[in-house]
């Protein structure tokens, strides 16, 4: 039996760069400013501390709507894999917590197969009891497919 999850989204792309280059795109504020908020959305501020447990925050303006995405880095295994928690102020239920896992596999001639897996945690678990959300995220991280 797999770990319960309320919902899961998977997006895959083949990219014209090696996994180490792609990994750095995920933890570089200047790079993120361009691709994490493609037009017409734009970032008004990006801060990140790319260490395990370090926080990130993206302030985004999208079609007149201001939203803030925040999270913490759970795993940073350059160049193969990174994982972080993810919350967005635009979500209707503020209790919602989620985890994003990005895996980067060498593909063809200098390319990378990127797999983004975004898992929504069940509300009753994400609300957190003793130890709270970070512990649950860590447990979930252990169970996610590698």
């Amino acid at each position: 039996m797999t770990e319960p999850r309320a919902a899961e989204v998977v997006v895959r792309r083949v990219l014209d760069a090696t996994p180490d280059v792609v990994f750095d795109e995920w933890v570089d504020a200047d790079a993120l400013a361009e691709w994490m908020c493609p037009r017409p959305a734009r970032t008004t501020a990006i801060t990140l501390d790319a260490r395990i447990g370090g926080a990130f925050r993206f302030d985004v303006t999208d079609d007149g709507t201001e939203l803030v995405i925040t999270g913490r880095y759970l795993e940073l295994e350059r160049p193969r894999r990174l994982q972080f928690s993810w919350s967005c102020t635009a979500w209707s239920d503020p209790r919602i917590e989620s985890v994003v896992t990005v895996t980067l596999d060498g593909y063809g001639n200098g390319q990378t197969l990127m797999t983004i897996t975004h898992v929504l945690l069940p509300p009753d678990q994400a609300a957190g009891h003793e130890g709270g959300w970070a512990r649950i995220a860590m447990q979930l991280a252990d169970r996610l497919p590698r």
Binding site: P4, A6, E8, V11, D16, V21, E25, E34, W35, I96
Partner: protein, 81 residues
């Protein structure tokens, strides 16, 4: 164990039906104990919320993956010149 039958036009529910405990843990299935019987029912609100979240995040990450792919392709082309 008694079960209430529920129809729902989504393949996702088949998984929940096959693994009711998973559905309960995920907040998609309600369980009610009546004496020795356990009654299971879908929580349509949770299910709808999950479906909405899936659609939003699929759109979000598709756009971002496309933007990253375009950025890296531009750089690869610039290097090749």
């Amino acid at each position: 164990m008694a079960r209430r039958s529920v129809e729902w036009p989504s393949g996702r529910v088949l998984v929940v039906a096959a693994y009711p405990e998973l559905g309960v843990a995920a907040g998609l299935v309600r369980r009610e104990v009546r004496g020795r019987e356990h009654w299971m029912s879908l929580d349509p609100e949770s299910l709808q919320q999950a479906e909405g979240w899936i659609a939003d995040q699929l759109s979000f990450w598709t756009t971002r993956a496309d933007a990253l792919a375009a950025r890296l392709s531009r750089r690869a082309e610039a290097r090749a010149r």
